[in-house]
């Protein structure tokens, strides 16, 4: 099998057919949608937040096997984490889990779309639940420096 098909190992193919945490949360505390303008992949993430922790997370949307597998892994990593911990989730946490460290640039976007959606959801939630307006600039800077 040529090197190119290496990334399409068992786990990726399985996740693409049977994604984890697929679905919607009706009474979510935050939801976010984004898409990849180049290829049309599109992901929605819903989260339930209790006690500053992600008590439940689900996603739905359309995407390639890479996108579906990464979103499955990401939501699995996120579930149960505190919001501060979610802030720190890094692209390598997902890529290494799936052996995708050497993806080419265009495919990286497929792999990381859900991370972008997750972080956007997180900052949307944080922004909406600020106790005072002082923190908003700090939040904005944090959010802007994500990518």
């Amino acid at each position: 099998m040529s090197s190119g098909t290496d990334i399409y190992h068992e786990m990726i193919v399985d996740y693409s057919r049977n994604p984890i945490n697929y679905g919607e949360i009706e009474d979510h505390d935050v939801t976010f949608h984004d898409s990849n303008p180049l290829c049309g992949d599109s992901i929605d993430i819903d989260m339930k937040i209790d006690d500053q922790k992600v008590s439940d997370i689900k996603f739905h949307g359309k995407g390639c096997a890479i996108c579906m597998a990464c979103t499955s892994v990401l939501t699995e990593i996120t579930k149960g984490k505190s919001l501060e911990e979610v802030k720190k989730i890094d692209k390598n946490d997902i890529l290494s889990e799936l052996g995708l460290e050497h993806l080419q640039a265009v495919r990286i976007k497929c792999a990381l779309l859900s991370l972008k959606v997750l972080k956007s959801a997180l900052y949307t939630y944080l922004g909406a639940h600020l106790e005072n307006t002082e923190g908003i600039d700090k939040l904005k800077t944090e959010a802007e420096n994500l990518y």
Partner: protein, 414 residues
Amino acid sequence: MQSTESSFENLRNDFPILKRTVRDNKRLVYLDNASTTQKPNQVIDAITDYYQNHNANIHRAVYALAEESTEAYEAARDKIANFVNVKNRQELIFVRGTTEAINLVAYAWGRPHINEGDIIVTTEYEHHSNIVPWQLLTQEKRAKLEYIGMNDDGELNLDDLDKYLATGKVKLVTFSLMSNVLGTITDAEKIIAKCKAAGVLTLIDGAQAVPHMKVDLDTLGCDFFAFSGHKMLAPTGIGILWVRKSVLQTMSPFHGGGDMIREVHKYETTWNDLPYKFEAGTPNIADVIGFGAAIDYLTKIGMDNVRQHEIELTTYAMEKFAKIPGLQIYGTKDITKRGGVISFNFADVHPHDVADIIDKEGISLRSGHHCAQVLMERLNVAATSRASFYIYNTKKDVDALIDSLNIVAKVFKL
């Protein structure tokens, strides 16, 4: 030149890129021609020769180089006029490509002519560049954008057109002469006849048609026509907007600047003659000349031969595809009504994964929405894979594609 497989095989020698290998030393099988085509030596050499021997700004100076470059630039305009049978060279405007051409019309014709309540009609299988400019225009003017629907074979439902025309509010009908996803060849004559009867102008997006079949603007009878050089052997960054003179004369200037003016004073300005009024600033001179060389090349082959070659390849590919279980082709199977563009989906495998896996075999195939998201919604798919042919493709390329799909089947356990 004879339209035989062997003569088409020979012209592969004119395309240096076809000799290179990709990934693990794989033969390059380039099947993304609907996106952009490769360039023959004749075109590359024309650009090189321009920069090595003639480069100068055009139109304004008297010295030798300027004389030569102006002549070559205007000669290319004549070649293109001749190629699509335009009688009046003043009607041909150089632009960056189809996208700029259509936006130019939306600004310079649309803004002075479209008013609240007017309707612009497009189709469900348009490229984004023939949808978004009209969304922007109709939103600004509180006008409406309507769509001609299509049947499951990818053919337009002209009853929709009749319905919109009957309102008396339609100002423009705009459509692609060949869909970049389905390959459908639009029945332009019928649409134009209906529009003419209703006194409505027509714009044709010829980006996919002009590279692949004979197009005759003099007999076609539309009012605006756009196409891109890079999809027909010419360099990137150059394309054509053609506008019927009587319509062009009703258009406001688009870009202000050098070359498009007659006299500039502090508070008022008069405009240059056509087509220069619409060619502000230093144009893409070298690539215009390269476009001329591409026209020479295609003329020598003959557009009927180009079309015939693609019919043969497409027929061959469709037959092979039909034998692959789980492979679905979109659009009509009637080869006389479609060009050499085949969009498909392979079982439940996402097109990105198809493209990625076969890329490792050297196959360059496009996957995604192909800048036609409205059509994707209509087909109810997120994306498709698309193979599109040109003069240098061979049956061997099709065979390589088919072989590579077997690998996809294996990986995804189909």
